[in-house]
Amino acid sequence: MKSTTLAKKSNPITKPDAAMLKRMLYYLKLTRESEWRIENVLYRQGKIVGGVYVGRGQEAIGVGAALAMRPGDVTFPCHRDFSVFVIRGFSLADIFANWLGRADAPNRGRDNTIHIGDMKHGIIPIISPLGATLPVACGVGLVLRQQGNGNVALTHFGEGTTSLGDVHEAMNFAAVMKLPVIFICNNNQYAYSTPVEKQFAVKSLALRGPAYGMPGESVDGTDVLAVYDAVERASVRARAGKGPSFLECVTMRMAGHSAHDAAEYVPERLKQAWAKKDPIKRLEEFLLAKKILTKQQIEEIDQGVRGEIEVAIADAEARPLPQGEEEVEGVYCGPDCWWRKPPSLVRGPLPVVPRLPTGAVSEVKLATDNPPRTKDD
């Protein structure tokens, strides 16, 4: 959580005003609560099907980075950066509708979770083989530089992703061409079940920056102000044509890899240590100490957030599902593009996903000569 020897010492250039600080708290809370509903309500109710990935504990990274963006900037949020979508202009209801696979959700049921994008909001979605967005960010940076408006591309990824070849290619490509790209690594200690010591051998990922010819810095990823400031400093550099930066935001994934994963591989003491650094609690304490907000006002924010989410989920749930036969549409872009037409809507209950009844697997008799397992196996 300290800067490495090669990372520049943090020298804050930003002083967010009270309004910005309140926005930070609001988006942190909105993100935490929305993801809680997704993981622990809608998914458990069977309304959200498929994978569920949340960023509990690391919300400060998305909030800090997205609030440092300007109009015309382009961002590539990762799957644990829910806040970026809201801050950049997607409506909560649209986001929930996408999780629910609705016909008039941003992806019209074609892709799930927050694989959503819209160039109007400057958001390009990830693909599941993570890391692939980094080279794409280079192409965006190339065009932004040529447009000459001082815009930047930000790309979010985890520490596990840094082991992929695309990260090497993109960081080198961006450095060689001095592209306005900010590489934001959320080091949340675990890639699925793989801890950092099995992922890389350097003391800090921030060392990777100078290795490619760009600044590398490690910041406390649970401190939204630190993230905001670091992204702002990297942006100033990028907007001035001085090239890319690498930012490691050290944090902890306070959830499983996905909703089915209890993360039992994470030692309890680690969970407890990180719980003390909760990004929301930290900002609340700061705002109370600075007398920017009272306890009463914080409770009002909580209530407002809950109300907003209720309305958005109700809106999303009321939307229709796509029609099966539309599956074949919209593969190719052309003059008669399917995506430019309104989605054809069908109203009705959610289809029932056939599942094996509980216990069914143990009743299946397998043809095998294997001896029964003993205690020593």
Partner: protein
């Protein structure tokens, strides 16, 4: 009209599109100062400048990824793979990022990935592959493989104007071996349309790329024996022209599916399935596949010669089929 090689026709097509549309630019390894390993982009840096003719590090995944990013920003990138064999290094960007993007969330992804493919120049296993089927099996991409200079120019222009990712397989054997009168005025060859290169009556030979010329050679030989081959050049592999294929089968009743790509999972298998489903009643003999064997492309000349179908093997297959 000007007499152009296949390679010059590709260069002229890109050049004209760059003049016509400021959003078109080229990017790749050694394409600027050096003009490309085969010189397809020679002269472009001087004419269009560094912002539109971009030399990159050796990073196929970053090159393809950057093209996708630029395309999303409204540009029309044309990127070169120094050899199509190396496209494997950018595979994830092509099949998972570019190909699925429009289907997932709707944007246009207008980009062309082009480069030399094919054998016959003793390039060995990594400078000779015909790996088009890796992409033909990926919905969301378009795949083209021109056989003539006229088509090379018309198809590269169509590919650049297309709003989808197009993989453009040039055949390196043809680069400087064929010359043709190519119109100087603007024209495109539509993607998805095959052409009958030589009308015939007895056997339809359906092929693409350099094998079009092999088939035409065989057709000339067999004409003297009184056997008439019809040669169909697919030109586009995804989407491919079902109508022209089926019409030719209907007319001839017998068909040879020819390509220099390997056998299993090749285009010939796909066409055989199409003909089995929609042209069954027209068949007067077995569907014949004539392809490279299921091996990597070998280096030593006798091995490579054995690997590739040639006019002789086409003629022999045609004689056998004619006897049905």
């Amino acid at each position: 009209m000007a007499l152009l090689t296949y390679l010059e026709a590709i260069r002229q097509g890109i050049w004209e599109e760059m003049e016509r549309d400021p959003s078109v630019f080229v990017m790749g390894e050694d394409i600027g100062v050096y003009g490309g390993a085969f010189k397809v982009t020679a002269g472009m840096l001087e004419k269009f400048g560094e912002d539109r003719v971009i030399d990159t590090p050796i990073s196929e995944s970053a090159i393809v990824g950057a093209a996708i990013g630029a395309a999303l920003m409204g540009m029309r990138p044309v990127v070169e793979m120094q050899f199509m064999d190396f496209i494997a290094c950018g595979f994830n960007q092509i099949v998972n990022m570019a190909a699925k993007m429009h289907y997932r969330w709707g944007p246009a992804v207008p980009m062309v990935i082009r480069g030399p493919s094919g054998a016959g120049v003793h390039g060995g296993p990594y400078h000779s592959q015909s790996n088009e089927m890796w992409f033909v099996h990926t919905p969301g991409l378009k795949v083209v493989a021109p056989a003539t200079a006229y088509d090379a120019k018309g198809l590269i222009k169509a590919a650049i104007r297309d709003d989808n990712p197009v993989i453009f397989f040039e055949h390196k054997f043809l680069y400087r071996r064929i010359k043709e009168d190519v119109p100087e005025q603007d024209y495109v060859v539509p993607i998805g349309k095959a052409v009958v290169r030589r009308p015939g009556t007895d056997i339809a030979v359906i092929t693409y790329g350099a094998m079009v010329w092999t088939a035409l050679d065989a057709a000339r030989k067999l004409e003297e024996e009184g056997l008439s081959l019809e040669v169909v050049d697919l030109r586009s592999l995804l989407p491919y022209d079902e109508e022209t294929v089926l019409a030719s089968v209907h007319k001839c009743g017998k068909v040879i599916l020819l390509h220099e790509d390997t056998r299993t999972g090749g285009m010939a298998g796909e066409l055989a399935a199409l003909i089995g489903e929609k042209g069954f009643e027209d068949l007067d003999g077995p569907i014949v596949r004539l392809t490279a064997p299921d091996t990597p492309v070998p280096f030593a000349p006798p091995l490579e010669e054995y690997f590739l179908p040639n006019a002789q093997t086409v003629a022999e297959a045609a004689r056998r089929l004619a006897s049905y």
